[in-house]
């Protein structure tokens, strides 16, 4: 046991109240109660942490200050120093990003005969997809239907989701599962082959498909292996895109990559570009810790915005209710929602439940923030606030050994720091988890900029103002495949000759000047900087 003694004493309270709590169910909140809780405590409502954009397609919209600074920044490129007339690579489809959506898009474009290049900032597969533990939704059981799934998604997203995108998501879902199975993904099943499915926050049916608690990793390593098996797909690792290339007409025609090994630029001419760069948790909005991958710095939003693409829902971020609050070494890392799906309750310092554990993520996160700001949270030795997540309840409810069997990754993560989660509760606090918004797309992943497609977390609209667990893995596969198909088909119709320019960048610089936006920031930022700042 590695909890320091002050925390040990507090755990006694959790143990004392457990027997009573096993019998009690915290009531679900009514719609107006949810609304009130969100307005009072959700980070999206902290007005002082937002800025209003002054330039670009979303001028007048608000977004977190950290993102606004990057969207209104300059590029570090000097167009005169790049030999655009002699590209290093030519392809039909350039996929920027090597996570779930990027790989799904590349594989599908390859299936449709396109010459594909994947450019990725780190290694292929280094992405948020790899870290998704909880599961992937699909309405494939008898008591469920795409329509029921649709309603759950809309309720989670505050009824502001783009209906056509949700329709695509829920309709393609079962086929996405089958596609993954055919690639060799191993889902948790009963002996008769039926899927073992569980609830997630905000689901009205048990439709969460899992691969133990390595669901994202299992999907990602399979997709990566398949990409590496395709002779024709070229993968450029450690080569993030730093700017899109456009024709004089403003249509997308490729990208400038930065080879991080050689610190040199690569010019890629492409008939179509798919942005699949994922999220932006590493921008640490409002100073929150994050569960995101090291590379999640919102590059795709910046590139698309400068090329004229409209963004959607960029004023809402998802704070996963249960990030690790202790031990200090893993603060912000995810405690999968599956823990609550399996029966663990959230408990304050008095050992009392304060929220139904499977409300939607924004509601649960707000409730935890409320407990902590009203002094019913637990102060950790690292100075972070948290509440208890009573994991040993899972063992009582579902039998001994359940935690080790269902949550091996979680068990391992805490065991490394001497905490046995099947015997001791853990401390959690919301962590910056997901970029609800992104580049606005239609159901075929097109944007308002010709020949620019977007899929996965970099796109916005399908999840509205809040995403349900298990719909991001689904989103990456469904829209990754749709983008791959659409881009491959579009490439067949576009002529080979494309005049590569950086005209959009020159236009952007003029705009900044016109609007009086003075910036010393260059974007995209590519990687966070965690080196110690010496005083």
């Amino acid at each position: 046991m590695s909890y320091p003694s002050p925390l040990q004493e507090l755990i006694t309270k959790v143990k004392e109240t457990r027997e009573r709590r096993l019998k009690e169910t915290y009531p679900r909140l009514k719609p107006e109660e949810k609304e009130k809780l969100l307005k009072q405590f959700h980070p999206d409502y902290r007005a002082e942490t937002f800025a209003t954009l002054r330039v670009g397609p979303n001028a007048g919209d608000r977004t977190p200050k950290e993102l606004a600074a990057l969207l209104e920044a300059d590029s570090s490129l000097d167009p005169n120093k790049l030999a655009l007339e002699s590209p290093d690579y030519t392809c039909d489809v350039l996929v920027i990003g090597g996570g779930g959506a990027g790989c799904a898009a590349a594989l599908t474009a390859d299936d449709h005969g396109a010459r594909v290049i994947i450019a990725t900032k780190l290694r292929l597969g280094d992405a948020n997809t790899m870290m998704a533990q909880g599961g992937i939704q699909a309405a494939d059981k008898e008591n469920d239907s795409p329509a029921i799934h649709y309603l759950d998604v809309l309720g989670g997203g505050h009824f502001e989701n783009v209906p056509e995108l949700v329709e695509a998501l829920v309709t393609d879902a079962p086929e996405a599962i089958q596609w993954l199975e055919n690639l060799g993904v191993i889902f948790d099943k009963n002996p008769d082959g039926s899927m073992k499915t569980i609830h997630g926050g905000g689901t009205s049916r048990k439709r969460m498909h899992t691969c133990r608690d390595y669901t994202g990793a299992e999907i990602m390593r399979t997709l990566r292996d398949e990409v590496k098996s395709r002779d024709k797909i070229i993968v450029l690792e450690f080569c993030p895109a730093v700017e899109l290339l456009t024709t004089p007409e403003g249509e997308v025609a490729g990208a400038v990559l930065l080879n991080l090994n050689l610190n040199s630029y690569l010019i890629v001419k492409a008939k179509n570009v798919i942005i699949a760069t994922g999220g932006s948790g590493r921008l640490h909005y409002q100073g929150f810790p994050t569960s995101n991958h090291y590379g999640a710095t919102g590059d795709g939003l910046v590139l698309a915005y400068r090329a004229g693409a409209r963004l959607a829902f960029i004023d809402t971020m998802q704070y996963h209710p249960t990030g690790v609050a202790f031990p200090q070494q893993i603060v912000g890392q995810l405690v999968t929602e599956k823990v609550r799906s399996l029966g663990a309750q959230l408990v304050n310092i008095q050992g009392e439940q304060f929220i139904f554990p499977l409300e939607t993520r924004d509601v649960v996160a707000s409730a935890i923030i409320r407990e902590c700001s009203e002094n019913r949270g637990i102060k950790t030795p690292g100075g972070v606030d948290g509440v208890w997540l009573d994991t040993p309840m899972i063992e009582i409810l579902r039998g001994q050994g359940t935690v080790k069997r269902e949550l091996p990754a979680m068990v391992r993560q805490f065991a490394r720091f001497g905490i046995e989660i099947d015997k001791e509760p853990i401390l959690v606090f919301p962590t910056l988890h997901y970029q609800n918004g992104g580049v606005a797309i239609d159901p075929f992943c097109s944007t308002n900029v010709p020949f620019l497609f977007v899929a996965g977390e970099a796109s916005g609209g399908v999840h509205g103002r809040n995403r349900l667990m298990g719909n991001s893995l689904l989103d990456t596969i469904v829209f990754g495949r749709r983008a791959g198909k659409a881009a491959a088909e579009s490439a067949q119709k576009r002529p080979d000759h494309l005049n590569l320019t950086l005209n959009h960048l020159e236009k952007w610089r003029r705009l900044l000047k016109e609007k009086g936006v003075e910036t010393k920031v260059f974007s995209p930022v590519l990687l966070p900087d965690y080196t110690r700042k010496k005083a």
Partner: protein, 227 residues
């Protein structure tokens, strides 16, 4: 909280860092802005596989830099990229039999059971156990034992027979998932129903509802009980 500083050595260079940090955080504390050797920072991606020993001890130890706390006198090195062999194959062109795995990875038969792989696994996987299962053709066992593999390749780096275990295990898992795991009838049925347009009407109706009507439908949903 007062920081307790300890001595560590990164690529031979001396640094003092707080003892509460992970290896990855200690490198950043020392001033390294990492490009390679860093990934999810949560123990899932295998990017930060690292080798170390402590001064005066000849043993080499293995860890994920994001999941391991620093110790006094650690001598650290990052493994930037391990060039593991991976033949090309198309799963869809395989029949899904055990001998195909050994045809693609014939070197697996060279294992002489030294168990160094198991000792070097930061995920505590019984690597030798699944290598044995590969050799005897038990693909379900390989899939089960190797499931938590994060593909860091540390087992390969230490193997005297130079076996690429993590890639061979992944091939087995993919064969299991595609060919051997029982299929879900309800999934096939639902896909057929969707293709027939069974839900198109219900979805069209929902798409046509106002926000208020949707809210009412949502509030009135029946929720599948937990058990």
């Amino acid at each position: 909280m007062k920081e307790n500083l300890i001595d560590i050595y990164i690529m031979g260079e001396h640094h003092q860092v707080p003892d509460s940090l992970t290896i990855l955080q200690a490198m950043e504390y020392a001033g390294y802005r990492l490009v390679r050797g860093v990934g999810c920072r949560g123990g899932f991606c295998g990017a930060c596989a690292t080798v170390y020993r402590t001064t005066g001890d000849y043993h080499l130890k293995f860890a994920l830099a994001c999941q391991t706390k620093v110790e006094p006198d650690m001598q650290l090195a990052m493994i930037p990229f391990f060039p593991a062999h991976r033949p090309r194959y198309r799963l869809s062109e395989l029949k899904g039999t055990a001998d195909e795995v050994l045809r693609i990875y014939p070197e697996m038969l060279r294992c002489y059971g030294c168990n160094t792989c198991t000792k070097s696994c930061p995920q505590d996987i019984d690597v030798l156990g699944y290598v044995s299962a590969i050799v005897r053709g038990d693909i379900p066992a390989v899939a089960d034992i190797s499931f938590d593999c994060i593909m860091c390749g540390l087992c390969v780096s230490r193997c005297p027979a130079e076996l690429v275990k993590h890639h061979a295990a992944l091939l087995c898992r993919r064969i299991y998932g595609r060919n051997l795991a029982p299929r879900s009838e309800h999934l096939q049925k639902r896909i057929a129903e969707i293709r027939e347009g069974k839900f198109a009407h219900a979805l069209a109706e929902l798409k046509g509802l106002s926000k208020k009507e949707l809210q009412e439908r949502y509030a009135a949903r029946d929720i599948e009980p937990e058990e």
